[in-house]
């Protein structure tokens, strides 16, 4: 299904002249990029190109590292993400993150799903129950785990743990999901099923996924951004990037001549 492109409508996330430094090392250089609503954008590039750094910048997970300095701005629905007066808690409720390794908390399945809700909302037991059901349903775990909500989340297989981590975000009604190589710890079959899930989720969420796996980028994304050494080299429709890239570097990377 192709969606209409409306050039005037601003994207869900807009990155403007964004620079990021780790001490003296510049990890991101003048990045300008817009992520469209309810579409999947893949960020690809060789290790150290800044793709994870950019993803982490979007919900400010780099704040906790020493000596990180940023310039420029990132907007979420036209609201700035950096600067005084930004409510990080509000921002992260709306922009959730899935990490490389599944990292559920050492709590029950139920408590994992509602961890965020407990932090931010005063919900009754029945409201919590229905959130758990809805969230697990949307990541395809409800049928498997409906009778095991009290199970320790860390005892689940890897794929289910990763789905649970997504459910944990979904429970807070976010609008953007950031995924940092969400399948790198999974076997090929689990990877395929997570990719199918991403396909499902994009009906409701804007998804930005960092991946090392070019085939995966081609399969799951609508847009692809290629990064190299902190620079955004090329950005465009995935089918175009993978069939007729404009830049020689992009072509070299995609065809596996380098990287």
């Amino acid at each position: 299904m192709r969606k209409e492109e409306d050039p005037k409508k601003p994207g869900a996330i807009r990155v403007e002249n964004f620079n990021l430094y780790y001490g003296n090392f510049q990890a991101l250089k003048q990045v300008n990029l817009e992520f469209q609503h309810r579409e999947v954008t893949a960020i690809i590039g060789p290790s150290g190109c800044g793709k994870s750094t950019l993803l982490r910048s979007i919900n400010r997970m780099n704040d906790y590292m020493d000596q990180v300095r940023t310039e420029g701005q990132i907007y979420h629905e036209n609201r700035p993400v950096y600067g005084p007066g930004v409510d990080l808690v509000e921002h992260r409720k709306k922009v959730g993150m899935v990490f490389q390794r599944p990292n559920p908390f050492p709590l029950t399945v139920y408590e994992n799903v509602i961890f965020g809700c407990r932090l931010h909302l005063e919900l009754s037991r029945s409201e919590l129950d229905s959130r758990v059901e809805k969230s697990l349903m949307s990541v395809g775990l409800w049928e498997v785990l409906a009778d095991h909500l009290d199970q320790d989340a860390l005892s689940l297989p890897n794929e289910q743990q990763q789905r649970l981590c997504i459910a944990r975000l979904v429970a807070m009604n976010p609008d953007v999901l950031l995924m940092d190589e969400p399948c790198s710890a999974l076997d090929p079959i689990a990877t395929q099923r997570i990719e199918e899930l991403i396909h499902e989720l994009k009906k409701d969420y804007t998804i930005i996924i960092v991946t090392h796996n070019m085939a995966q980028a081609a399969r799951v994304s609508d847009w692809t951004a290629y990064f190299y050494l902190g620079n955004l080299i090329e950005f465009g429709r995935t089918e175009k990037i993978f069939t007729r890239p404009e830049k020689k570097e992009t072509e070299d990377y995609i065809t596996g001549r380098f990287g």
Partner: protein, 283 residues
């Protein structure tokens, strides 16, 4: 000439094993010695009566009570401060010169001889703060002495919590404190408690810190408030061994046996907590 690896293996094994024996043998000898000489005086009366005839007869009840008071009060003082400081240092403090100085200070505090803590306690708590020679002064002195160890072991426990737990909690919009309270502390607590108990069990057996701050040579009655003096097992043992002539050897050994048993119980508790939670731990 190169030695045959099979021979060097045997030599290495022999040295490693002998070194281990060197540690274990004294423990066994001490235990046997205490049991052999101490069991003769061990009785319900010995544990529940006050000393009589210039400590040559009767029991050691006031000293047991005093030591229990000191342990409990030291826990109340040292545990909260130690845990909170450890949380600050491992979760909040950034890596710069001030935190490095604090690190060095803590390591050095752990190495200060206990008699110095005793004199410090005398100067600060007994004299300057005017608590007098009292249980509070003694417990505070023991607390100060235990803090470096509690802080260090608590930091280690906090350090074992995977960074990914903190990261995902923060990414869900939790504040640092919410992350610490809901994720970090519950999972680090067994390790923290274990370390704290071990630190306190060491403090419970110390003589020098309580020498000038709380310990009484002999008291006919039990302490009524924490501002009273009390007797304590380590000091009582010291008194029996050096200040009272013609004590039956069994009384000394019996006292030592009770002290060692109390410390052993504390250590076993620490071990039990650790193994209980290790079984539940999944990461």
């Amino acid at each position: 000439m190169r030695l045959n690896p099979k021979i060097t293996e045997k030599i290495a094994f022999a040295f490693l094993f002998l070194s281990t024996l060197v540690i274990v043998v004294p423990v066994i000898l001490i235990t046997i010695e205490l049991l052999k000489n101490g069991m003769s005086v061990m009785s319900w009366k010995f544990l529940t009566e006050s000393p009589r005839m210039g400590m040559r007869a009767g029991g050691i009840f006031p000293a047991i009570v005093g030591t229990v008071y000191l342990i409990v009060l030291t826990i109340l003082f040292a545990l909260p401060v130690g845990i909170l400081a450890a949380i600050y240092l491992s979760e909040y403090a950034r890596d710069h010169w001030l935190s490095k100085i604090i690190d060095v200070a803590i390591v050095n505090l752990a190495g200060v001889p206990s008699v110095v803590y005793g004199l410090f306690g005398l100067g600060i708590f007994v004299t300057f703060l005017n608590f007098g020679t009292s249980i509070v002064a003694g417990a505070l002195t023991l607390s100060i002495m235990s803090l470096p160890v509690i802080i260090t072991s608590s930091r280690e426990a906090l350090g074992t919590i995977p960074e990914s737990f903190r990261e995902s909690s923060l990414a869900l919009g939790a504040t640092r404190w919410q992350t610490i309270r809901r994720i970090v502390i519950p999972n680090a607590l067994p390790g923290i408690i274990t370390g704290a108990i071990l630190a306190l069990s060491r403090a419970a057996g110390e003589t020098a810190p309580i020498l000038f701050t709380v310990a009484a040579f002999y008291l006919p009655h039990l302490p009524k408030t924490i501002f009273d003096q009390c007797m304590a097992l380590p000091y009582h043992l010291y008194v029996l061994a050096t200040q009272v002539p013609n004590v039956k050897a069994g009384v000394e050994y019996g006292t030592a046996l009770v002290l060692v048993a109390m410390i052993l119980i504390l250590n076993l508790m620490a071990g039990a907590i650790r193994s209980h939670f290790r079984k539940k731990k999944q990461w």
